[in-house]
Amino acid sequence: MKFGIVQFPGSNCDFDCYYAIKNVMKIPSAWIWHKQNEFSGFDCIVLPGGFTYGDYLRVGAIARYSPVMKAIINFARKGGLVVGICNGFQVLTEARLLPGTLIRNECLHFICKKQSIRVENNHTPFTGMCQKGQVLQMPIAHGEGCYFADIEIINEMEKNNQIIFRYSDINGQTSKEANPNGSISNIAGICNKKGNVLGLMPHPERNIEDCLGSGDGKLIFESIEMYLKKEKILQNN
C-alpha cells in the first residue's frame, strides 16, 4: 500500500500530510511533483492544503491545469482513491472531479479554528471506521470554504449520499450557528457519485495525534487503510 502526496507551487500542508500518513500511520508515502505527467504504484493520492499559485484567478483554478492533473483524473476515472483537503478540495472542484465549487466565506474572514463535523455517510472508503452521526473534531483554516452548488446538484448529492461531512456543533446539531463559512446545507465534505474521490475543507492531518487535540483525523486515514487492505484481499482471492 502506498500513498502519493501531490506538491504544487504554494502547497503548504504537504509535509503535514506526509508526517500524518508516513510517520503516524506508518503507511509508505512518496511525493508527486506537479510537473509529473504520470505516476504509478499508488493506491491513494492526496492533494494537500495551501495556496496553489497564490490563489490567483480563482482558488485551485491554475493548479487544475498542472501536468499532474491529467494523471490524477485518469487515476480517479479508473477508481483510484483521491482525497483533496482544503485547497486540494478546491482543486478537485475546479477539475470537475467533484461537483460545485468553494467561494469566499460568508463572513469574509479567514477562519482558523477548531471545528466539529458530523459524519453523514460511513459507507465510503474514507469513513468506514466512523459511525454515522459521529461528531469529529478537525481544525479548519480557510478564506474560501463556502461550498456552493445549484439546488438540483445538492438534491442529487443528497440522494446519492455524496454529502460525507457537515459542520455541526459539538452535539452534532447542524444549525446555522454551527456553520462557520456559509456553506450550503452546512456541507464540509463531499464525494463524487462513484465514491472514490473525497474533498473536505477540514484538516484531518492536523488532528492526527492525541496531543494535537483528540486524534480524530486519524479515523479518515485508518478508514482508507482498512478499505485498501480489504480491496487487496478481494483481489488476491
Binding site: L57, R58, A61, Y65, T93, E94, G100, T101, I103, R104, N105, E106, C107, L108, C146, F148, A149, D150, G182
Partner: protein, 82 residues
C-alpha cells in the same frame, strides 16, 4: 492585433460576500441610494489573429476552460481591433 476585454461576474443567486461588505461601506459613507453591489473581475487580453470570428471562438474557449467558472460565474467580452 486585437484587444479583448472580458467581464466576469458572479451569477445571480450566488452569494457575493465582497459585494455585501462594499455595500455596507458605501452606506456608511452616506451613499444611501445604493441598493446592491456585485463584484466581478475584468481581464484584458492582447492577442493576434486573422479574423474577429477566430478571436471570438478562442476567447470563448478560454473563458469556458479557465477564465470563468461556469458553476458560479457568467462572462461577456468585447473585441476591438487595434
Amino acid at each position: 492585433m486585437w484587444s479583448v476585454s472580458i467581464d466576469i461576474g458572479l451569477k445571480k443567486g450566488v452569494l457575493d460576500a465582497q459585494g455585501k461588505a462594499i455595500h455596507q461601506a458605501l452606506l456608511s459613507l452616506g451613499f444611501t441610494d445604493v441598493k446592491e453591489v456585485r463584484v466581478g473581475k475584468l481581464i484584458e487580453l492582447k492577442l493576434e489573429g486573422e479574423t474577429k470570428e477566430k478571436i471570438d471562438k478562442q476567447v470563448k474557449d478560454m473563458c469556458e476552460k479557465l477564465l470563468a467558472n461556469p458553476v458560479i460565474e457568467d462572462y461577456r467580452f468585447k473585441i476591438e481591433e487595434q
